[in-house]
C-alpha cells in the first residue's frame, strides 16, 4: 500500500465508502446491532406524527456541518471549475476566458500523461508487491510466537512517522556514497549500487521502495485486525480434518479476509493516485520529471509557473480520475461486500 497520506486520505475514502461497509469486517457484532437499530428507527419514523420534529432535529444537527462542508468543500470545487476555464496568472483580473483549452492542454501534455503513468505504476506495484508481502507477514505475525507484540510494533513504526520526516531520512540515506551505499559495500554488494535518486530510470522504483517501507505496516495492521475476526473454530475443524497450516490459510483464512483486503486495496489506490509528500521532499518530481505525479505536476505548473487557471484544470482532472476510479471500484469490487453487509442488516 502506498501513500494513504495519513488521516486525510482515510477520511476521503470514508466519504466515498459508507463507513458501515467497512465496519462489519472489524467489529461485526456491535456494528450490526447499531445498523439494525438505525434501520428500524428510520422505518418507524417515516410517517409518524412526530415527523416534523424529527426533521427539525436533523436539520439543526446537520446544518452546522453542512454549512462548513458547503463553504470549505463544495464552494472551492465550484470555484476551481470556474478558474479552470481561464488563462490566469493569479495576479491580473481573471478576464481571459478560454473555454476548455486548459483541459485540452492537460490531456495532451506528455508530462501530465507520464505523471499519470507514474501514479498507475505505483498503484499496480502496490497491489503486486505490497499485498502478498503484507499478507504474508500478517499471517506469520498471527501465529503464536515469542516476541510477537514487539515484532508487530516494529513493523508498524514506519507508518507512525510523519511522511515528510520519513522522506527526509531516506533522502539522506540514499545520497551517492551515502549510508545505504556504505552498507551495500560492507556486504560486498557494490554491484547493485545505484544513483538511487539521480538515475531517471530507477528513481521511481526507489520511491516505491520507500513507500513500501512506509506503508507496509499499515497493510499488516489492517490484515491482522481482519484476521482476528476469522473464527478459530474453522481452522480447528480444518486441522481435525488433516489440513496443513498452509492449506488452512489458503482455503479458509485468506478468503475470509477478502473484505479487508478489498478495503486495503481501495485505500492504497486512492493514496497512490494522490501521492505527493514523499515525492515532493525527495525529488520534487525530478530528475528530469521521472517521478512527477499528478499532484506534483499540478503544483509545479500552478505555482512554479504561475499558471493558476491551468493548474486548477489539472486539479479537476485529478479529481475526476480519482472519483471515477473510486466509483468503479465501489461498483465492481466492493459491491459484494456491500451486498453481504446489507443482507446482514436484514437478518
Amino acid at each position: 500500500m502506498s501513500g494513504v497520506a495519513g488521516a486525510g486520505s482515510q477520511r476521503d475514502a470514508g466519504a466515498v465508502i459508507d463507513p458501515t461497509d467497512a465496519a462489519p469486517v472489524l467489529t461485526q457484532g456491535t456494528a450490526d446491532r447499531a445498523l439494525a437499530r438505525s434501520a428500524v428507527s428510520r422505518r418507524a419514523g417515516r410517517r409518524g406524527p412526530s415527523d416534523w420534529r424529527k426533521r427539525l432535529e436533523i436539520a439543526v444537527l446537520v446544518a452546522p456541518a453542512l454549512v462548513l462542508f458547503l463553504i470549505f468543500v463544495v464552494w472551492p470545487i465550484v470555484q476551481a471549475a470556474r478558474y479552470s476555464l481561464f488563462r490566469w496568472n493569479g495576479l491580473e483580473p481573471m478576464t481571459n476566458f478560454i473555454g476548455l483549452d486548459n483541459y485540452k492542454e492537460v490531456l495532451g501534455d506528455t508530462v501530465f500523461r507520464n505523471a499519470l503513468g507514474h501514479n498507475f505504476t505505483i498503484v499496480v506495484l502496490s497491489l503486486l508487491i505490497q499485498l502478498p508481502l503484507g499478507l504474508g507477514i500478517a499471517l506469520l505475525l498471527n501465529r503464536k510466537m515469542r516476541g510477537r507484540t514487539v515484532l508487530r510494533l516494529i513493523i508498524f513504526v514506519p507508518y507512525v512517522i510523519a511522511e515528510v520526516i520519513a522522506a527526509v531520512v531516506w533522502l539522506l540515506l540514499l545520497q551517492p556514497r551515502g549510508p545505504l551505499d556504505a552498507m551495500l559495500e560492507a556486504f560486498h554488494l557494490t554491484g547493485i549500487r545505484q544513483l538511487w535518486l539521480a538515475e531517471p530510470k530507477i528513481v521511481l522504483y526507489t520511491m516505491f521502495g520507500v513507500l513500501t517501507w512506509k506503508y507496509l505496516g499499515f497493510a499488516i495492521i489492517l490484515f491482522l485486525a481482519g484476521l482476528q475476526s476469522v473464527p478459530i473454530e474453522l481452522s480447528e475443524a480444518a486441522a481435525l480434518d488433516g489440513a496443513s497450516w498452509w492449506q488452512t490459510q489458503r482455503r479458509i483464512t485468506i478468503p475470509l479476509l477478502g473484505p479487508t483486503i478489498r478495503i486495503w486495496a481501495f485505500l492504497s489506490m486512492i493514496g497512490s493516485l494522490q501521492l505527493f509528500d514523499m515525492v515532493w521532499v525527495m525529488t520534487h518530481g525530478g530528475p528530469g520529471r521521472s517521478t512527477e505525479t499528478m499532484v506534483t505536476y499540478m503544483i509545479s505548473v500552478g505555482f512554479d509557473r504561475n499558471r493558476l487557471g491551468y493548474g486548477t484544470a489539472v486539479a479537476i482532472v485529478l479529481f475526476a480520475i480519482s472519483l471515477g476510479m473510486a466509483l468503479l471500484y465501489q461498483r465492481f469490487i466492493l459491491r459484494r461486500d456491500n451486498i453481504e453487509a446489507d443482507s446482514g442488516r436484514k437478518r
Binding site: 495576479l91 491580473e92 545520497q175 535518486l197 520534487h284 504561475n306
Partner: protein, 437 residues
C-alpha cells in the same frame, strides 16, 4: 528562482518573524494620503517589510537599517518578517493576490516585476525618489518596466565560476580558463587528478538553467536578447547555438556524481557543499556562493583562502559580445497601497551610509557606485570589477522572461542534462510557454 540564497543553506524553511519593539499601535496602516512622504510628519505609520535575509549577517543588518530609520523618523514603525527565500517566494505570490501584501517587498526585476506591474500591484517610484534612482545609474535598468522604475536594487551581482585554487594547482592549471578550449582542457586536467571538475545543483532546476543563460549570453547578441525579453520571440538561431554549446559541456561529463538530484544549497551534498568540502573543483554560481559555502562547513569558513573566482570564458565565432555576462540582483518594491513613506524608506536603504555598510557585510555587491570601495573581500572585489567593466549584463533569463517561460526553460535544460532533450527541445519549450503567457 532565488537570487540571494544565504538563508536556505541552513534551515528547512524556518521563518523567523521579528517584531520591532516600538510603541504599540498594531499593524493598522493609515491610508497613503495621510502619511507625509518624507516621514517627518507626526502621524504614526507602520511599514510591514518582508525580506529573505533570515540568517546573519543580513538578518541583523536589515534590523539595524530598520532601527536607524525609526530613530530618524520616530513616527514610522517597521515590522520585519524575515522569511527563508523559497518560502518567501511562495508566500509573496499569495500575498500579492490578497488585499494585504507587505508594504516593502523583495523585487528581482525583469519579467516577474512586469507581471506585477501589469496587475497593478506596485508603486511607481520614478517621481517619488528621483535622486536615489539617478544615484544608482544603470543598475536600475532591470527594475524598470515601460520606462518607469518600480524597484530599487541594493545588490547587483554577476555569475561566474567559484573554484578551488588548491585543486586547480594540483591539476597543473596555472591560469584560470579564459577561452572555451582552455575550459575543456581544465576539465580534462581535473578529471585526471580524480576530482569532479564541476558541481551543479540540477536537482533545483535553476542551477542547470544557469548554464544555458551563460551559453546564450555568449552566443546571442545583446540586441537579440533584449528583443526576446519583450517580444518573447526565440526564433534567432543563437538560441539553438546556446543549446549546442551547452551540449558540448554535458558531453564532456564534467559534473559531480548524481548531479541530477543534487540541490544547490542544502547540506554538505549540495553543489555548494561539494565545492566547500573539497569534493568538486568549481561551480557556476552567483555572488552569494561564498556566504552559502561558509555555512556548509564545520568551521564556517568555507574554502577560505583557497576560494577563487573567474568569469565564464568567451566563445569565439558567435554573436555574443566578449565580456558579456549574466547577472541579477536584489531590490525592494513598494506595494501599490503602501504608505507614501515607503518610497522614502527604499531611498534610505540605498543611501551611501547604508550601501557602504551593506558592502562591508560581504553579503552582496552594493549597487551604488560610490560604495564600491566598501567591498573588502578580494574575490568580491574582482567580481565587482568584472561587473563594472562588462559591456553587457543580461538579467538572469528566468527572471527576464518571467516565471512561466523561465521555469519551462529551466525544466528543459534539466532534461538536456539528463540526456533527454536536444537544443531544439529547449527552444520549443520556451516557445510553447510563451504561448500561455
Amino acid at each position: 528562482m532565488a537570487r540571494f540564497r544565504v538563508g536556505s543553506a541552513v534551515a528547512l524553511g524556518v521563518s523567523v518573524a521579528m517584531l520591532l519593539a516600538a510603541c504599540g499601535g498594531g499593524s493598522d496602516k493609515p491610508g497613503a494620503s495621510t502619511a507625509a512622504p518624507t516621514g517627518d510628519g507626526t502621524e504614526p505609520v507602520t511599514l510591514t517589510w518582508w525580506h529573505n535575509g533570515n540568517n546573519d549577517p543580513l538578518l541583523s543588518y536589515w534590523q539595524g537599517v530598520a532601527d536607524a530609520y525609526h530613530a530618524e523618523n520616530p513616527n514610522v514603525t517597521i515590522e520585519i518578517e524575515a522569511i527563508q527565500n523559497e518560502d518567501l517566494r511562495t508566500r509573496l505570490q499569495v500575498a500579492l493576490q490578497s488585499n494585504d501584501p507587505p508594504d516593502v517587498l523583495p523585487q528581482w526585476g525583469g519579467g516577474e516585476q512586469a507581471d506585477q506591474v501589469k496587475a497593478d500591484k506596485l508603486m511607481d517610484l520614478t517621481d517619488l525618489i528621483p535622486d536615489a534612482i539617478s544615484s544608482l545609474g544603470g543598475a536600475v535598468g532591470g527594475w524598470t518596466t515601460d520606462g518607469a522604475v518600480y524597484g530599487v536594487p541594493y545588490s547587483l551581482g554577476v555569475g561566474g565560476f567559484w573554484y578551488n585554487k588548491a585543486m586547480f594547482a594540483e591539476a597543473g592549471i596555472d591560469q584560470t580558463p579564459a577561452t572555451w578550449e582552455e575550459f575543456f582542457a581544465a576539465i580534462d586536467a581535473l578529471k585526471a587528478i580524480g576530482v569532479a571538475p564541476i558541481a551543479v545543483g540540477a536537482g533545483d532546476g535553476w542551477p542547470a538553467g544557469w548554464w544555458y543563460y551563460f551559453t546564450a549570453v555568449k552566443s546571442c547578441s545583446p540586441e537579440t536578447l533584449q528583443a526576446a525579453t519583450s517580444s518573447l520571440d526565440f526564433s534567432d538561431p543563437c538560441f539553438i547555438k546556446a543549446g549546442e554549446l551547452l551540449k558540448e559541456v554535458i558531453d564532456a561529463k564534467p559534473f559531480n556524481e548524481g548531479f541530477l538530484a543534487t540541490p544547490a544549497q542544502q547540506g554538505a551534498t549540495s553543489s555548494a557543499g561539494l565545492l566547500a568540502n573539497g569534493q568538486a573543483a568549481m561551480e557556476l554560481m552567483g555572488h552569494w556562493d561564498p556566504a552559502v559555502m561558509n555555512g556548509l562547513t564545520e568551521d564556517n569558513l568555507g574554502l577560505g583562502a583557497d576560494l577563487g573566482w573567474f568569469a565564464f570564458p568567451d566563445i569565439p565565432g558567435t554573436d555574443g559580445v566578449p565580456g558579456a555576462i549574466i547577472g541579477g540582483g536584489d531590490g525592494f518594491s513598494c506595494a501599490k497601497g503602501a504608505p507614501a513613506v515607503c518610497a522614502d524608506f527604499l531611498a534610505f536603504i540605498v543611501n551611501e551610509t547604508n550601501q557602504n555598510a551593506f558592502g562591508a557585510t560581504g553579503a552582496g555587491l552594493p549597487t551604488l557606485p560610490a560604495a564600491a570601495a566598501s567591498v573588502a573581500d578580494p574575490n568580491m572585489a574582482a567580481l565587482l570589477e568584472v561587473r563594472n567593466n562588462s559591456p553587457y549584463v543580461q538579467l538572469y533569463l528566468d527572471t527576464a522572461f518571467g516565471t512561466n517561460i523561465g521555469t519551462a526553460l529551466n525544466d528543459a535544460v534539466v532534461n538536456m542534462f539528463a540526456g533527454q532533450a536536444t537544443p531544439q527541445d529547449i527552444v520549443d519549450a520556451m516557445v510553447a510557454a510563451a504561448k500561455t503567457v
